[in-house]
Amino acid sequence: MGTFDVFDHTADIGLRVRGRDLPDLLETAARATFAQMFDDGPRGVEVVDDVRAVPEGDLAGEATELLVVWLQELLYRFETARLVPLEFHFEACTPREVRAQVGFGRFDPGRHTARLEVKAVTYHELDVREDPGGTWSARFILDV
């Protein structure tokens, strides 16, 4: 399991994420992002769905773009169906494409407490890299 910490940004939220490999980085980035949204969120998986993220056009193959597109996919599911990602099973994961089966809990405003809406993952100072030794790290800022 990867790790993350929050760094100070005056208006928004900065996240530094580390993973043992690219799938671990993406999973940890998702957990870190959704951790900012809830004081007390859903814990049990209720829905399993396939999630596919593919950077397109000139941006294909960029790991930075992969991270952004992956998180956008998950945020879209939250906003349209209140789904919160809890469990991850990666079927394919390269900078060109990620395919995963994701177990989601469903946010219920009557039972759970949410704190912040994440509007977007920004490109400002965005950095995703494979570090020496094959681990991965990322730094990104959420607009909240």
């Binding site: 929050v6 100070d8 005056t10 509007k119 607009d143």
Partner: protein, 487 residues
């Protein structure tokens, strides 16, 4: 604060003005100008905002200067509090990062015939009723889900769509910037995902720094203009801060992808990916402006619908119609937007693309876009502060047209990160502190409330003072919160 800070030049350039000369960095096309005084300039140095002013000064076609208002702080791409105008005829660009994800985030202020003696003893039932009536909080949508065909009408018509469906009064549109609708909205430039995200969110407040406040006018500085705006000392007002919700966020996401490709296509060498952009007069630029205008119109429809819910709640509590309570819209301003406006340049009056990223339009008396009722005094400029102190109502002045493309600040501006705020404060403590000041607060999240506590923001009085001393706008009155709803 956060970031590395700024150690470049900040040269005093007259009353409340600091210049970053374009010689500071080779890629700057114009100077940077930051409106601030000695008290505000130091915190501005401590985060990355001034460097972002420099980055914006590199954008193709930028005119006059990269401008920053006294509430400036570190954003993404543009600083929050940034203003930049580009000339399309000189290859000037439009940048989604110069508008932000919450397209047409803005504020509206509603005045009333109620006074402090009416509301003070009933603030609890009033705030509770508003909290129950207005959908707010993370993941909470509006009361109705719009069909796609209706969504397209919202995107074209803006606030007028809501009024046409019996929600509000025709005169509300007269008192909304651009009458609540930008021409040139293009519903076909908007993605399916944006429609999906926006379908059930018209009439919802959201969360974060969006709020709804019950306020009392506690100080009047300019009685004649206050009278023209329909406000007087002791009067009760309502303020709504919200934007285009998930619809606008998706439009921005979609076009940042487009613009990253476009920036490469047009050979722009940008210092920050978030500044990605395309010429206004390009296919990418035109499509973005069409989609952004659609999102701006969505936001005006949203704030109109929210105001109608507030009117409904207040009417119920006081047992009188909104008309009898005088719940009239003073004005609605956008503070995250790009608009084509005519401004004076060295080559004479030209249509420019004015980006306001955390900045408010502030047109002076006589400007044709100021509503007829206010044309003799100038445009109302609504500047919310933090929930524990006060907000201000200003009026636009001529100097804003001459210097800042008719723009001023948009709020207090954060002085502290959210994590720092929650390290220093707990939500329960914030609620108690507010109660001790006679302010009732309601929120779905105590921690969220802590992140928004007063000390996390600059004192908006300092910000407004700079704007006034610089001659950009003049104070009309101050409003003190009695009740605060945070999503």
């Amino acid at each position: 604060m956060g970031g590395q800070g700024y150690d470049g030049p900040l040269e005093p350039a007259g009353e409340c003005r600091y210049r970053i000369p374009k010689s500071y960095r080779r890629d700057m096309r114009v100077d940077g100008i930051i409106y601030a005084d000695e008290r505000l300039i130091e915190p501005i140095r401590s985060d990355n905002a001034a460097e972002q002013v420099v980055n914006v000064a590199t954008l193709p076609g930028i005119q006059k200067a990269s401008l920053a208002m006294p509430d400036i702080h570190w954003g993404y791409g543009f600083p929050i509090g940034g203003v930049a105008a580009t000339d399309p005829a000189e290859g000037g660009i439009v940048s989604p990062g110069g508008v932000g994800y919450d397209i047409n985030c803005g504020v509206r202020m509603i005045r009333s015939d109620l006074v402090l003696d009416d509301v003070g003893p009933r603030i609890e039932p009033l705030l509770t009723r508003i909290f129950q009536t207005v959908p707010c909080g993370v993941g909470i949508g509006g009361r109705t889900r719009l069909a796609l065909s209706e969504m397209r009408k919202v995107l074209r018509e803006g606030a007028a769509y809501v009024v046409r469906h019996g929600q509000g009064w025709p005169e509300d549109l007269d008192h909304t910037e651009a009458r609540g609708c930008l021409d040139g909205a293009d519903p076909d430039a908007v993605s399916k995902r944006a429609y999906e995200r926006g379908q059930n969110q018209v009439g919802s407040l959201g969360a974060g720094n969006h709020f709804l406040e019950v306020q009392v006018v506690d100080e009047v500085y300019d009685p004649a203009t206050a009278e023209a705006f329909g406000v007087a000392a002791g009067g009760i007002a309502f303020m709504i801060h919200c934007g285009s919700r998930g619809f606008g966020h998706q439009v921005c996401d979609d076009f940042i992808k487009t613009m990253r490709g476009a920036a490469r296509k047009y050979g722009f060498d940008l210092p920050d990916q978030q500044l990605c952009c395309a010429p206004v007069e390009s296919d990418e630029g035109r499509r973005y402006l069409g989609a952004m205008r659609a999102a701006a119109n969505y936001a005006w429809a949203n704030r109109q619908a929210l105001m109608v819910l507030v009117r409904e709640a207040v009417s119920t509590v006081f047992g009188k119609s909104a008309e009898r309570l005088g719940l009239r819209l003073v004005y609605d301003v956008a503070h995250n937007i790009a608009k084509i406006e005519t401004h004076d340049t060295a080559a004479g009056p030209r249509p420019l693309c004015v980006h306001r990223k955390g900045a408010t339009r502030a047109f002076p008396a006589g400007h044709p876009e100021v509503p007829e009722a206010y044309r003799g005094v100038g445009q109302p400029v609504i500047i919310p502060g933090d929930m524990g102190r006060y907000s201000f109502l200003l009026v636009g002045q001529e100097a804003a047209m001459a210097e800042t493309f008719g723009s001023v600040c948009h709020g207090a501006g954060r002085a502290m990160s959210r994590s720092e705020a929650s390290r220093r404060m707990r939500g329960e403590q914030v609620r108690r502190d507010l109660a001790a000041k006679g302010i009732m607060a309601m929120s779905h999240s105590w921690k969220g409330l802590a992140e928004e506590y007063s000390g996390a923001y600059k004192d908006v009085a300092d910000v407004v003072s700079v704007v006034e001393r610089a001659g950009l706008a003049r104070k009309v009155c101050r409003l003190r919160p009695l009740g605060v709803i945070k999503g």
